[in-house]
Symmetry: C2
Subunit: 488 residues, 2 copies
């Protein structure tokens, strides 16, 4: 089924495909009970990615136009069944399909796996490893000491006291000397990335990312209309020599990097390359966005090199730090460090976005962040996650099928696994989901031409037993899948 | 001083002016100690608004290029003084001026008045009027019952339990029947406006607003490149007949309205016009964004008409509700109600923005929101604010100079005041600031050609005595100013 897609349109390909198919189904051009082309065939015929078609089909299923049957394919629902599903909302909202939007890409629908799956996809830390009891006690104390906290707005830039605490924290972890006036409190690192994008990135601006990279950062840059150029990663992180030669012909505006325990590969940008990167920024006048979600979570008693921001003498680096993952997810607190007018302009955007992060969650973290308990907590967390990393790798060594390889991370939450030959992890994921497993397929981690033969698993979220069960099951699914796709 | 401005540029006029002047100062084209043109003259000569020039001058002052002397004007700093200020940050960040941004307009700098001013500009509720003690107790209980709350992320859409509580609340206030699955939790109404803008508004899209309107909404729409068309407000709110004739030639994509106790004028959109608006949306296929920050705060025992969303049978209305102002500012919780694919697409944007609002602040509000205490609180709040409104109007009646008029609000936090003749509230504000007062000048509230003869004062934030002092002082400043500008 060849359809007419407009690649210059404001509407995403996903919505174009879903809208066109919905039209055809409604008008009866595609008949009831008939089978739609397989995702693979549809994607080949129309030269769009597997993921795009898969999302369009999911959207159609959600809106009641089709039903997806595992292992069989997609079938058009009968009208009477369709109506039943549409009635979930009592309103007739068909007209809405005519309203175009500015969403080019989103990881959101990727996350809609089976509810009770074993989520090897979750790069978050198991609540049992976080200091909930201490934090809860301290929040109660904060509120008792000053009950009017709940009734006050904080400053748009963030509470002065928490900025001071974070200033000191960053000096300890990251060797980063800053002032509290250069810090903006954000709702997690995600909002920091978004603030940079909405302030400095627009249609056609060149953004450099690692390849692969954090999928939700790609969403944000893509939705701003950026021209994203990926730079490959090797054992020492982003290959800055490739970036240097690229700068001879192109003018990047922003370089987005996760230098420490890179997401998804777990690699660390070497100190030499960190210095190179800052020099390149100075010579070429681009901004570096340093996403530092977990530099404290290093293994083997081997702390990472200093942050890029600590090497920045000229205000080229915007440093993003998260406190959600390793401390208090329910507070969603992040910090952004920048200088000069870059800082001023980011502050302006923070104001437009939400007039400042909640004061309560900022105040909540101050006692713990400022105490020595934070050090003790991080030491324990490193040990616990190191054990999980080792356990996971031991299981992979024992059960992974021949040809499957992985990178042993020196910190962080993830392992990057590669399939041999023509293995495609989008296809593998469909099979894994049937076994009630989820992981992150590599197609989500590349900006332009995706690679399909990698996957990311996270060892930080699941309970030990579930983790073991999940990895063993995944190895089984890989084994079966690789036998299927092996050239005979 | 005529300078060369590029109105098609990505860079805002404010930054263009500041950058060009900074260049001239640095290069010595404009000499040390020399006086810059007055804001008024500069704005006339270059055909830009008073506010734009004023912001550019403030930026230059902040960066150490000029000093502003009250009542005298702007003077270029000597180099040695400049360096001292630049050294606040140890980095040399001059190169940053070459990085363009996508900020067209921001209210942020408007808020940078004198630190200890009597803020008649603050449309927030005095913390003493909010139920801090109850809330604090309930938050403690919530944490005690389930300490692991701090260690968990909530769903991107928002916690299911708080969405259920809000669903019931909206049925009580606003006569709004919805399901919890149609609600997205936002970080305040501001984020709701921003989510709509980033999802559905792009360069050249037509956005309708009331004139005047909420200034930070204008920032958001402008920064997305919208073509904003203002519709005037009369005693019954937005003049929907003007909108109807506009629809004959233009195709609006979004109509943004504050129908109930409109910000800044305090007027209420009549029920008839609410119905008109929904019909217009259905006929013309636009979205209505209903900003409902305080429909519960009505006076004279006279509740407002039902929300526009309650009249919406076709999913044309995106309803935004805030719980920050009237309940718990430090939690920054808002809700967005929408249907069908509009809802789905907004959820996608929420995911890109911050991966969901903090779970802690959501959980914190559930007990209070669900209890009858919320009713009691709102009853008390209405009475307290009604008294303040009456007090403010009594003071205006007694002290305001001849020719000054105002609208008596039937609810909400603000009074809209008008000066006679050629009164200009941007100029008045400079004088008020010298008397340590702040208010919102009308120039900030119009999208295209600002009006200069109104101002908004809020009676909700100050303590009674400060409010009295503030209004009396403001009347004095108005008196003196109006004598100055009176045609002789």
């Amino acid at each position: 089924m060849k359809i007419n897609l407009n690649r210059q349109s404001d509407q995403s390909l996903i919505h174009q495909i879903a809208n066109i198919l919905a039209e055809r189904i409604r008008s009866g051009v595609v008949e009831e009970d008939s089978q739609l082309p397989s995702i693979r065939n549809f994607s080949k015929e129309n030269q769009v990615s597997f993921v795009t078609v898969s999302k369009a089909y999911t959207l159609l299923e959600k809106n009641g136009y089709i039903r997806l049957e595992h292992g069989k394919g997609a079938f058009v629902r009968r009208k009477e069944q369709r109506k039943k599903i549409e009635k979930r909302t009592s309103k007739n909202v068909d007209w809405q399909l005519a309203i175009p939007d500015y969403i080019q890409r989103s990881q959101y629908m990727l996350n809609l796996g089976p509810e009770n799956a074993i989520k090897l996809s979750s790069a978050i830390i198991n609540p049992g490893l976080l200091p909930s009891a201490y934090l809860t006690k301290e929040i109660n104390q904060v509120l008792q000491d000053d009950p009017q906290i709940v009734a006050r707005y904080g400053p748009i830039q963030g509470d002065a006291e928490v900025r001071e605490a974070i200033k000191k924290y960053l000096q300890r972890y990251g060797e980063l000397k800053t002032t509290s006036s250069e810090i903006i409190i954000t709702s997690g690192v995600q909002q920091g990335i978004d603030l940079v994008a909405r302030t400095f990135i627009g249609p056609g601006d060149i953004v450099i990312t690692e390849a692969p990279t954090y999928t939700a950062a790609l969403d944000v840059f893509r939705n701003r209309g950026a021209h994203i150029i990926p730079i490959p990663v090797d054992g020492e992180g982003m290959q800055t020599d490739i970036l240097a030669s690229l700068c001879l012909t192109k003018k990047p505006k922003v370089v987005y990097t996760i230098p420490t325990f890179h997401n998804p590969t777990g690699t660390v940008l070497s100190k030499k390359r960190r210095i190179d990167l800052v020099e390149l920024a100075q010579r070429n006048g681009f901004l570096i966005v340093e996403d530092d979600s977990w530099n404290e979570i290093y293994f083997d008693h081997n702390p990472p090199p200093p942050t890029i921001k600590s090497l920045d003498t000229s205000g080229h680096v915007i440093y993003l730090k998260g406190f959600s993952k390793a401390l208090a997810p329910s507070c969603r607190i992040g910090a952004m460090v920048s200088n000069g007018t870059i800082h001023q302009r980011l502050l302006t955007s923070k104001s437009c976005t939400d007039l400042g992060s909640p004061l309560l969650t900022q105040k909540a973290l101050i006692p713990f962040l400022s105490s020595t308990r934070m050090n003790t907590h991080l030491e324990k967390l490193r040990i616990a996650l190191e054990i999980r990393r080792d356990q996971t790798i031991a299981l992979l060594e024992k059960y992974a099928p021949e040809g499957v390889t992985w990178i042993r991370p020196k910190g962080g939450l993830n392992i990057w696994v590669s399939l041999p030959g023509s293995g495609n992890t989008d296809e593998l994921l469909l099979k894994a989901q049937q076994s009630n497993l989820s992981f992150l397929p590599s197609s989500a981690c590349y900006p332009n031409e995706p690679k399909y033969n990698h996957l990311r698993i996270s060892y930080s979220y699941l309970e030990n037993q579930q983790l073991e069960q999940g990895i063993m099951e995944l190895c089984k699914v890989m084994e079966l899948y690789l036998q299927e796709v092996k050239p005979s």
